[in-house]
C-alpha cells in the first residue's frame, strides 16, 4: 500500500524536518494536518483529493523559519511551484513527498500529469487525454458554445466556493467581490464578467494547475476546469508557458513567442 510506505517515509523525514503537512483522518473526518516528531502517523491518509498548497503557505507564514515536508500529489506540487512563482512561499523550505494519483483519479480529473516530479512512492500514473476538451472544441459551433456557457453559468449560486478552495487564490482583496466588476445581490450573475474574473485571474495569468478543486467544490457542477484547461492550452500556445512545471523568470503575458 502506498500509504504504508509513505507513513514510513514521513516518520524518517520527521527526524530532520520541522513537520510534515498531510491529510489526517481523525474522528471519521479528513482534514489537513501538520505532523510533528513523535506523532501517531496511523491517521495519515492520501485522500480524498484536497488542495493542500495554500495550507502550506499559511503554516510557513506563521513559521517563517520552518522546513516542512508536504505529502502531495502532482497537481499540488505544481501549485506549490506556482505559489513560489508568485512569491507566496519559498520552495527551499519545502520537501515534496510525492505520490501518484490512481488511474481512476486521473480519469476523473482528465489529468495529463497525475504524478509529481518528486515521486517518493509508487510509479508514475499514465496521463489522460482531456477528452471533454477535445470534444468541446471539435463538436461545438460558436453559437453552441455561447449557449453552453450561458446555461452553465446561469446555474451559479455565487457561493464563491471555486475561489475559496482554489490553491492559487491568495489575494486579500478579491476582484470577484469588488462592486466595480460585480454588482451585489444579483442572481443569476450577469454573463460573463463574474466567471471571467475567476478564469482570467487563475488560468489566464498562468496560475491554474488543473487540480479540479473548484469543480469538485462547485455545488452547481459547472465544468470550470474545462474552461481553465482551454485557457491553459492558449497560454502554452501563445507564450510557451507550462503552468507549475518549474520556477520561472518573467511571468507569461510579458512575452509573445510568435512574431
Amino acid at each position: 500500500m502506498l500509504v504504508d510506505a509513505l507513513r514510513e517515509i514521513v516518520a524518517r523525514k520527521l527526524e530532520t524536518l520541522d513537520g510534515v503537512v498531510a491529510l489526517a483522518e481523525e474522528q471519521q473526518r479528513v482534514m489537513p494536518r501538520l505532523y510533528r516528531r513523535g506523532d501517531d502517523l496511523s491517521t495519515l491518509v492520501l485522500g480524498p483529493r484536497y488542495p493542500l498548497a495554500l495550507v502550506v503557505r499559511e503554516i510557513l507564514k506563521r513559521h517563517p523559519e520552518a522546513h516542512l515536508g508536504v505529502v502531495t500529489r502532482g497537481c499540488q506540487e505544481r501549485a506549490l511551484v506556482e505559489l513560489a512563482n508568485w512569491k507566496q512561499l519559498d520552495l527551499q523550505q519545502i520537501e515534496v513527498l510525492g505520490f501518484p494519483c490512481s488511474p481512476e483519479q486521473a480519469v476523473e480529473c482528465r489529468c495529463a500529469q497525475p504524478y509529481p516530479q518528486a515521486l517518493v512512492v509508487g510509479e508514475p500514473t499514465p496521463g489522460v487525454e482531456d477528452g471533454l476538451l477535445a470534444e468541446f472544441l471539435a463538436a461545438k459551433t460558436t453559437a453552441e458554445r455561447l449557449a453552453f456557457w450561458q446555461r452553465q453559468f446561469a446555474k451559479c449560486i455565487k457561493c464563491y466556493g471555486c475561489r475559496t478552495i482554489c490553491p492559487l487564490c491568495f489575494c486579500n482583496q478579491c476582484a470577484m467581490e469588488q462592486e466595480t466588476w460585480v454588482a451585489r445581490g444579483r442572481l443569476p450573475v450577469p454573463f460573463p464578467v463574474f466567471h471571467v474574473i475567476k478564469a482570467l485571474h487563475t488560468a489566464g495569468v498562468g496560475k491554474c494547475v488543473g487540480c479540479h478543486a473548484c469543480e469538485d467544490a462547485c455545488p452547481a457542477a459547472i465544468p470550470l476546469s474545462l474552461l481553465y484547461a482551454l485557457l491553459r492550452r492558449d497560454l502554452k500556445d501563445l507564450f510557451g508557458y507550462e503552468v507549475g512545471a518549474q520556477v520561472r523568470g518573467d511571468p507569461p503575458l510579458f512575452k509573445i513567442e510568435e512574431a
Binding site: 508568485w86 453559437a143 489575494c171 454573463f191 485557457l231 509573445i256
Partner: protein
C-alpha cells in the same frame, strides 16, 4: 537675458559623473530630438534640446527646478534619430539623479499602494517600465509587512502596475479601476439604435489634431475613452463593457517598439490575444475585441481605424446574450 552669474560648471561635472550623463556635452543642439518627441506634441513647453543645452551651460537652478526634466518617459523615439547618438532619456535620468540629490521631487501624481491589500507577489515590480517599484518591509498595524513600494521620483504614472495587479492594490489617482470603468460605461453608453463600439485609446498615439478632434466628437454609436497607456487596459474593462452594452471594443496603442511607456503596448497586445481566445471559448466572435497599433507615421489614420471597426461591429450586429 544675462545668465552669466548663474552659470555653474560643477553642474555639468555632476551630471556627467552619473551613469548615462557622460554624453551631455556631445549635443550640438540640432533639435531633432525635440522634433520627434512625443511629449512635446502634447506639451510644447517640453523641449529636450533646451534642457540639454541649459544643463550643458550649467544653469543649475533653471534645470534642476524645472518640471520638464521629469516629463521624459524614456520612450526613446529620439534616440535612434540623434545624429550624435546621444541616449537622451539616459541623460535626463542623470539630470534627475542630480536633482533628487539636491532635494527636488517629481511633481504630480504617482502610483499609490494599498498596503493592507497588497500580497507582495511582485507582478507590479516586473511590469513597471521604470523599475520604480520594489518589495519592501513596511510598518503596517504595528508589525512589518512585505509590500510593494513606489519610488515617486521614478514613477511615470502610466498605471501599468495596476493593470497586472490581481487585487488592484496599486493604482494611480484619476486612472483607478473605478475611474476608468466609469468613463467606459457612462450613462447612455449602451443606448442607441445601432451596435455600440467602444474605443480605448492611449493618450500618446493620437498625433494629428484631426485624430484628437475625431476622438472628442466621434460619430454616433462610437465612444472613445482615453487612458494613459494601452497597457493600463485590463481585460476586465473589456468584458465589463461588453456585458454592459458595448458590442465591440477596439484598443489602440502606440506602434510596436515605440510605446511611450516602453512596453505597455506589447503587454497589452499579449493580453488582448488572451481576451480574444477567451471570447472564442465562450462562443463570442473574436473580432469583437481588437488591438491596433497607431504609429507616428499613421497620423490622421485614427478615423479610418475606428470606422473600420465600427463597420465590422455593425456587420456582426449587436450582442444577443445580454439580459
Amino acid at each position: 537675458m544675462n545668465h552669466s552669474r548663474k552659470l555653474d560648471p560643477s553642474l555639468v561635472q555632476e551630471i556627467m559623473a552619473e551613469p548615462g550623463g557622460e554624453n551631455l556635452l556631445t549635443c550640438w543642439s540640432c533639435g531633432t530630438c525635440a522634433a520627434t518627441c512625443l511629449v512635446r506634441r502634447y506639451d510644447p513647453a517640453f523641449n529636450p534640446r533646451k534642457i540639454l543645452h541649459q544643463a550643458g551651460l550649467g544653469l543649475r537652478e533653471e534645470v534642476l527646478s524645472s518640471a520638464e526634466i521629469w516629463q521624459c518617459s524614456a520612450c526613446d523615439a529620439c534616440y535612434p534619430r540623434c545624429p550624435k547618438q546621444i541616449h537622451i532619456s539616459e541623460v535626463m535620468k542623470a539630470i534627475r539623479a542630480v536633482a533628487i540629490r539636491a532635494g527636488y521631487q517629481r511633481p504630480g501624481v504617482t502610483a499609490h499602494v494599498d498596503v493592507a491589500a497588497c500580497i507582495a507577489c511582485g507582478m507590479c515590480a516586473v511590469a513597471c517600465p521604470y523599475e520604480a517599484i520594489h518589495l519592501e518591509m513596511v510598518p503596517w498595524n504595528g508589525t512589518p509587512k512585505l509590500a510593494a513600494q513606489v519610488d515617486p521620483n521614478l514613477c511615470m504614472a502610466c498605471g501599468i502596475c495596476n493593470s497586472v495587479c490581481l487585487s488592484s492594490s496599486i493604482s494611480v489617482e484619476g486612472h483607478t479601476d473605478v475611474a476608468i470603468n466609469q468613463r467606459l460605461n457612462q450613462d447612455g453608453a449602451a443606448e442607441g439604435p445601432q451596435p455600440q463600439t467602444l474605443v480605448i485609446t492611449c493618450n500618446w498615439c493620437l498625433h494629428a489634431e484631426s485624430d484628437v478632434a475625431y476622438a472628442m466628437h466621434p460619430p454616433e454609436g462610437v465612444r472613445v475613452v482615453n487612458v494613459p497607456c494601452s497597457g493600463r487596459v485590463t481585460p476586465l474593462f473589456v468584458f465589463t463593457a461588453l456585458q454592459r452594452g458595448m458590442d465591440g471594443v477596439l484598443i489602440v496603442g502606440c506602434k510596436e517598439d515605440a510605446c511611450h511607456y516602453k512596453h505597455g503596448n506589447a503587454l497589452e497586445r499579449g493580453r488582448a490575444r488572451m481576451v480574444q481566445n477567451l471570447l472564442d471559448l465562450l462562443g463570442l466572435e473574436q473580432e469583437r475585441v481588437r488591438f491596433a497599433w497607431l504609429g507616428a507615421l499613421d497620423r490622421g489614420q485614427f478615423p479610418e481605424l475606428v470606422g473600420q471597426m465600427m463597420r465590422d461591429v455593425q456587420a456582426m450586429g449587436p450582442l444577443t446574450w445580454r439580459e
